[in-house]
Structures are given as C-alpha cells and as structure tokens.
Amino acid sequence: MQCFMCGAEVGDSNVCYNCGADILLYKQIVYTSYVFYNQGLEKAKVRDLSGAIEALKSSLQYYKYNTRARNLLGLCYYQTGEMVRALNEWVISKNLQEDNPDADRYLAEIESTPGLLPKVNSTIKKYNQAIEYCKSGSRDLAIIQLKKVISQNANFVKAHQLLALLYLEEGKFADARKLLNQAAKIDSNNTTTIKYIHEVKARLKDQNTGKRRKKNDTVSFVDGNDTVVMSEKSFRSMLDNSRSSLMNIILGLVIGMLICFFLVVPTVKDNAKDGNSNTILALNEALAESNSANESLQSDIEKLKTELSAYDDKQDVATSYDNLFAAQNYYNSGDSATASQYIQLVTKEVLGEQGQQAYDTLYTALSPAIIQGFFDDGNNFYSEENYESAITNFKTVVDIDENYGNGAALFLLGDCYRLTDQTDLALECFEKVVELYPSNKWGKQAKVYIAADDTKLDAKEVGE
C-alpha cells in the first residue's frame, strides 16, 4: 500500500515513515467505502435499486476511486431508466481509472446500439416537458406525454411515479395502482413508489366504504323476472303512495266487476246462444248432406247389385267358350240337337269379337234345330197340359220365326193362351194365323175359334 500523502510504500504499517501521515485513518475510510459498496451490491441483487444507489453514493463519498461502486451505480441508474446519469458515472469511472474493463464494456455497448442515444434523449425531453405541463396545470397533456415516455422507456421509474401521481389526482386509482405495481417490479423498495401505493390503497378503501354506505341506502325487491333496486327514500315514498293507490285499485276492481256483470256477461251469453244456433244449423246442413250422400250411395249399391245379379245369370267367359266349342264339335259330328243345346248355354256378350262371329255363324246354322227343339218341347208341355211352360217355348219359336210350321207355332201359342183364359192374347194370335194362313188347317181352326168363340178344342186333336 502507498501513502496517500507522499506516495511512499508503507506496507502494513499504520503510519507513513516518510511523511508521518495517518495511514490507519485512510485505511478505515477506504474500508468503509467498500462496506457501503457491499451493501449496495446486496440491495441491487434483490432489485432494491434506490437503496443500492444510496449505498453506492455513500461509498463514493468515502472513496471516489472505488470504481466498482461507481460502475454499479451507473448500472443501477441504467436499470431505473436514467440513462444519462448512468453514462456520466461510467465516463467518470473511466477517467478515474483508465484500466476499467467494466466501464469500457458498458460504454461500448451503448455506442454500438444505433439510435439509442437520440431515442433516450427524446424520452428525457418528453419527460421534462411533462413536468412542465404538470406545473402549468395541463395534466391531460402531461398524461399523454408520460404515456409516450413509458412506452419508449419502460424502466423509467420516475415517469411511472409521476403518471401514477397524476392518476391519483384524477381519481383513477386502478390505473395508478397498475403503474405503481410496474414501478415496484423495477425498483422494489423505492420509498416514493411505496408511499403512492399506500395512498392508492387508502383512497380505494375510502371509495369502497362510500359505495357500501350508498349500497346500504338502497332497497331491492323482485318484481316478476326483474330485480328492482331503488333508494330507501324512494321506496318509503312509494309505500306511502301505495296506500292511496291500494284504495284506488280496490275501487277500480269493484267498478270493473260491475261492468263485467252488466255488460260483458250478457254479451257473452248472447254470443254463446248465437254460437249454439249456428252450430245446430251447421249440424242440420251436415245431416242433410249426409242423408243425400247416403241415398246416393244406396242407389249406387242397388245399381251395383243389379249389375252383379245380371252377371250372376251369365256364365263366365271360360264356360261360354267351352259350351261354344262343344256346340261346334257336336255340330261338326252331325249331332245338331246336342249342338243346339250347348249353344243355348253360351252367353254371347262375354265372348270376344272372334267368339261372337263364331257364335253367330254356328247359331245361324243351328237355328232350325234350335227352333225345332223349342217347338218340340212346347208340344210336349202342351200334351202334358203344362200350358205355362208351353207358352214360354212357343213364344220363343214365334219370336224367332212366326211363320214356323205354317202358323202351327203361332196357333198353338194362341191356343195355350185360350186354355189359360188369356182370351185377348189368344184372339190376337188366332187373327194373325188367319191373316198369314187363311186356308190351311191352322187358319181354318183359328177362324172357327174367332167366329164361334169355341174354346173347347181338344189339345190332342190339334198338337202333332
């Protein structure tokens, strides 16, 4: 160690043997400086930057050549956003100790960042402008400037504090608290920050207490789906008013009931009667329509039954064709009598076009045999005195050919009528026989019956 007075080497001695200076005191001063430096370092490590700055300043007041303390002080200023102060400390540190790698590094880092210093300078100018605005009463402008400052230099603790102070004054406690929390994150033990936080808490507490008082003055009640909140005074006045309102409501209800009884009820009854009458008319109309529909359906049923019965009398298609083929076969084999029986079993209407043509052809061919068959049957019934059946057969013959047997069929039909006391029909047949065959035996006998009205002709004498 060298003597601070003469520069002579003193070793561990407490007094300089060259000049007699008190080395012990000097050593104590330097030692105290390093104690403060250590304190500052400990505080900086826990982000108590303002505490660190105070300790480091003390350290440098004891011993200005403590370059470690000065470099750390610059670093603390840098962290709190005070760039120019930091630069100053590092420049001084470099001047006091030329071999100073830490200061060299910090300065080189700032110089190597392009545009950093102009930006820092602009931020500082805005901050200073904001202070001027505050002092001149233009708080709104100051707030705008400080917001810009914080956006450019987020670590600037003093800008945070000033903006928080303005917010406090404006009553924006939540915003102030947010800013102060940010400032506390940068510098955890800053007395100004802590003081402002307490102030914000106190004002928020007052505000909440006031709100609670106001809240207690209110009355809330549920009205349907809505919750009505109103002041207690308003609620009481409403209750007072509600007494007179209650009387009015009761009076209104009585009047309403009277109106209902005398006006509404009779109208409702009339409407009900009208409604019933309309209903009865509508039901009558519906009944009449139903009856007519029923009649229509009944007539349809009858019609369909008639058609069905007509079909019942007819043979089906297959049977008709079978009978037609049988008739054709018997005709081809020369048995015209059997063929005529089969062809009479055919229903012509159910046959197709070809079938009907075949039926007509065969029927024409078999006509004589058919007529002969009817005539023979008629004669048989006549002989058996079964005149009703005889009439049916003779009438069939006459309908086909009234000249059959030279008037025999016509005469015998008339005679059957005569024997069954159908005189008019009988005379009609006799007159036709006389007209057609006046000279044969049927004509002569018919004349006899007509002239003498002799109806006692023996059937056996006539029929052959």
Binding site: F4, Q61, Y62, Y65, E82, V84, I92
Partner: protein, 48 residues
C-alpha cells in the same frame, strides 16, 4: 394524504444528453480521502 402540488415539486427535470458533459464537469468529486489529505497537509504545514 399526499399534497399533489408539494409532491410535484420533488420532480426535477432529468439530465439530457447534451447536458451530460456539463454535469460531469460540475460534479464535485471530493471525497473523505481528499479531506483527510487536506487536513494532513495543513497539519504538516502548521508543524513546519
């Protein structure tokens, strides 16, 4: 309760970059060792 106006007075303008040199020059860097040097020097002069 904080007095806004009083509190505002505590805020001083920050040093701008242009003022840095002047600030350094204006800085009083005297420390306790300087005082001890002066006192010892005065004592030595008085003794002589």
């Amino acid at each position: 309760m904080i007095d806004f106006e009083e509190e505002l007075k505590k805020y001083e303008p920050a040093i701008e970059v242009e003022q840095a040199e002047a600030d350094i020059k204006a800085r009083d860097l005297t420390d306790l060792t300087d005082l001890l040097f002066n006192m010892t020097a005065q004592n030595n002069n008085g003794t002589k």
